[in-house]
């Protein structure tokens, strides 16, 4: 165990601070650009400096730096303090890019990665269908090769951001003769293609971030496939792993915990400051135990990875641990918002990791459920932990359907 920052890292921190001081917020004419344009401009400079897209090779638009957990943390901390836009945490950047790096062909990496990490190309994930949720491999959307084009017909659902996406990475059945998992391919669909029809679905929060996507004889180039025909299931496992990592991030749990603590400091309960209530104090301390354990487990996994060892079982627990914490925070927050729970939630588009104010916590109260369902429900996580982590026998129902 060595948790100290050596002089090398203190020096690195000073460099990051100096960079931020010089470049953020933007000055002069640049400060008049739209928020999104400013972020894009700044992000390019951060990449050039090696403070963003560190895991991505230079030839695909990244800054290609050696993996260094501590430097990543320092960047995160300093960018956070300065409210500067760091790495994009979009579906494309967090899920598709790592998948491309692992399974993509050279031209695909060259074409898709750079605009995605700059935030210019937006992606959505077309996995779930009305009849295929937890049992994803039972999906029915069909793609047939016609000359040098795939012709796709089907119906995707819960597709987050399909209304604003440029592309969809999509699982389709391409080998009807093959078994359930062997017949799936991983295709990239331009959302502007003819036959793509998107309609918004409204969530319980009142906002609409996910969609239904109807695919009617949509034609895409045959080369828009990641991995080989029939290998889509394996490719999708890699995307899913990254999705779970994204949801399972312990730093995010800690940020939300801290935000709630801050909120509690300004709240009165039963005629006194909420934090003087012994029950509330106990609950905060109890949740801090889970948050801290989760965080240290994350540090340990990173340390193992840096040593070239497998984190094994520990990594399978991240999503469930994180969403369990989300539930605990939601319930505690709900007891703190008081009568504000009678009013509509704030219209946060996706789960806000650092809610501020009562209405944002009402929103988190709902979003914590969405997050627990997305990317594989809690029960599916338990199945994975039990079967792959603990080596317990598989469900009979699941065995039968394979």
């Amino acid at each position: 165990m060595d948790l100290s920052y050596s002089e090398e890292y203190e020096e690195f921190r000073r460099e990051v601070q100096a960079f931020l001081k010089g470049y953020w917020p933007l000055q002069g004419d640049e400060a008049k650009l739209s928020h999104r344009e400013q972020a894009t401009l700044f992000r390019e400079r951060a990449i050039a400096q090696g403070y963003a897209a560190r895991a991505i090779p230079k030839r695909y638009g990244g800054s290609e730096r050696e993996a260094d957990v501590l430097k990543a943390r320092i960047i995160g901390e300093e960018f956070g303090k300065a409210h500067a836009p760091g790495d994009i945490r979009s579906i494309g950047a967090s899920m598709l890019v790592p998948t491309l790096l692992e399974h993509g062909q050279e031209w695909q990496k060259e074409r898709f990665i750079a605009p995605t990490i700059r935030g210019e190309m937006v992606w959505c994930q077309g996995y779930s269908e009305p009849g295929a949720g937890s049992d994803l491999a039972s999906l029915q959307t069909k793609a047939e090769l016609d000359g040098d084009e795939w012709v796709i017909n089907g119906h995707k659902v819960w597709t987050t951001g399909a209304n604003i996406a440029d592309y969809m990475f999509c699982l389709c059945r391409t080998e009807p003769e093959a078994d359930k998992h062997g017949g799936i391919s991983y295709l990239l669909i331009d959302m502007k293609s003819e036959g793509v029809q998107v309609s918004l679905l409204r969530q319980m929060t009142g906002t609409a971030d996910f969609c239904e996507v109807f695919l009617n004889s949509v034609r895409i180039p045959a080369e828009n496939i990641i991995g080989k025909r029939g290998e889509g299931w394996n490719v999708s496992r890699s995307t899913l792993k990254h999705e779970r990592n994204m949801i399972g991030s312990a730093e995010a749990s800690r940020a939300t915990f801290r935000s709630l603590l801050k909120f509690a400091k300004g709240v009165q309960l039963n005629g006194r400051p909420a934090l003087e209530d012994p029950v509330i104090r106990q609950r905060f301390a109890q949740i801090e135990g889970y948050v801290t354990a989760h965080l240290y487990s994350g540090y340990r996994q990173l340390t193992l990875a840096a040593r070239g060892q497998e984190p094994g079982l520990a990594a399978m627990l991240n999503k469930l641990t994180s969403t369990n914490i989300g539930h605990m925070l939601a319930k505690l927050a709900f007891d703190l918002v008081g009568d504000q729970a009678l009013e509509s939630p704030s219209g946060d588009e996706v789960m806000n990791l650092k809610p501020r104010g009562g209405q944002a916590w009402v929103s988190q109260y709902m979003w914590s459920l969405g997050i627990a369902i997305a990317g594989g429900t809690a029960n599916i996580q338990r199945n994975v932990i039990a079967e792959r982590g603990l080596g317990l026998p598989r469900d009979r129902a699941v065995q039968r359907s394979n």
Binding site: M1, L3, Q282, T292, A293, N383, L392, D395
Partner: protein
């Protein structure tokens, strides 16, 4: 930054694990558990010969000169094996002297404690959950101590007792002292026996440094480490049992209700080892954070251990409820870890206070 163990630390754990498997398998464990005084000379001698008697004692006094993290790693493995005996109290006594004793006291006691020639223990808590040094009432005057100390680990066997006294001080009392009465307590955890110590103007020596809080914090870390080891062991017992026990023509592990409970159990415990690692590391290297980290680790892990013990009994069905089953041994260690030095609710409140909430 490195949040992991060194090769030496991993080796230390493996060595102790090998020793426990060989010297304290289930039949031996049960024999000591059922025995008169929860003590086995061969087992203890073996531990001492490995150098476990003086892990945190400086090398100049015959110890291994290691830190609390190393000691806690050993305690985790002993917790996994539910190894019975006086290790916990003895280790805290060596730590108290190392941190707070005068050079002369160290010279006199530490080599004997490290070599196992003498056994040490600590008498900290008093009646009515008075575990906090600020709540101790035993009185010292003119080199004599008077008071009642509840729940002293292996008090009957110890040669040297480090006693917590009013105002948060520590004094050393030897077995031969006049005015010392030690009565066994009918303890629930038969792998860690307890005694009640009554001191009536017993001659004592004060430790010059004020280290009672540090010793308490170290105790919390060690209980947290034990809880992690014990809880991990329970999960593997439950998993093994669920794989082999068949009902309705299939292993019970195939019933999703059982399977999901096992998944939840491992999700409770596996991420939490870092809590005790960090608390031990803070004790060794980051003093400002040590007290709060120790309280958080103890509250979280001991509560978790207790709940997993309840779950493990249920997974085992009727057999889990018997005296014959080994599950009860860990169940009772969980009761000990949860209660000794103060229950989770008490330490959670301290966690809140120490952060100025």
């Amino acid at each position: 930054m490195d949040f992991g163990l060194s090769d030496e630390q991993e080796l230390l754990q493996e060595t102790v694990r090998g020793f426990v498997a060989k010297e304290c398998p289930s039949p031996k464990l049960r024999e000591i558990f059922e025995g008169q005084d929860g003590y086995d000379a061969t087992l203890w001698d073996g531990m001492v010969k490995m150098g476990l008697g003086g892990l945190v004692v400086p090398e100049s006094y015959g110890g291994a000169g290691l830190e609390l993290l190393d000691l806690a790693l050993v305690v985790e493995v002993l917790g996994e094996g539910a190894v019975p005996g006086p290790f916990f109290g003895h280790s805290l006594a060596t730590l108290a002297l190392t941190l707070g004793g005068s050079p002369e006291q160290k010279e006199r006691w530490l080599p004997q404690l490290a070599s196992g020639e003498a056994l040490g223990t600590v008498a900290l808590g008093e009646d009515n959950q008075a575990w906090d040094p600020a709540a101790w009432t035993a009185k010292v005057s003119e080199g004599q101590v008077t008071g009642e100390k509840a729940y002293v680990p292996y008090g009957e066997r110890a040669d040297l007792i480090i006693v917590g006294v009013g105002g948060g001080g520590l004094v050393a009392v030897t077995r031969e002292s006049s005015g010392l009465k030690v009565e066994p307590v009918n303890g629930v955890d038969r792998t860690r026996r307890l005694a009640r110590v009554t001191l009536q103007s017993a001659p004592c020596e004060s430790l010059p440094e004020a280290v009672a809080d540090r010793v308490r914090d170290a105790g919390l870390v060690l209980l947290a480490a034990d809880a992690f080891g014990g809880a991990s062991k329970l999960v593997s017992m439950a998993v093994e049992y669920a794989k082999t026990r068949e009902q309705f023509g299939q292993p019970i592990a195939q019933f999703q209700a059982v399977k999901h409970r096992l998944a939840d159990m491992i999700t409770e415990i596996e991420p939490a080892r870092g809590l005790y690692w960090y608390a031990a590391h803070a004790f060794d290297r980051i003093p400002d954070e040590a007290e709060r980290a120790a309280a958080l680790a103890k509250a979280h892990l001991s509560d978790c251990f207790m709940q997993l013990a309840r779950d493990t009994v249920e997974v085992h069905g009727g057999i889990g409820f018997t005296w014959e089953s080994d599950v009860q041994i860990w169940f009772k260690r969980a009761m000990f870890d949860r209660t000794f030095l103060g229950a989770p609710a008490y330490h959670l409140e301290r966690v809140a206070q120490l952060a100025d909430w």
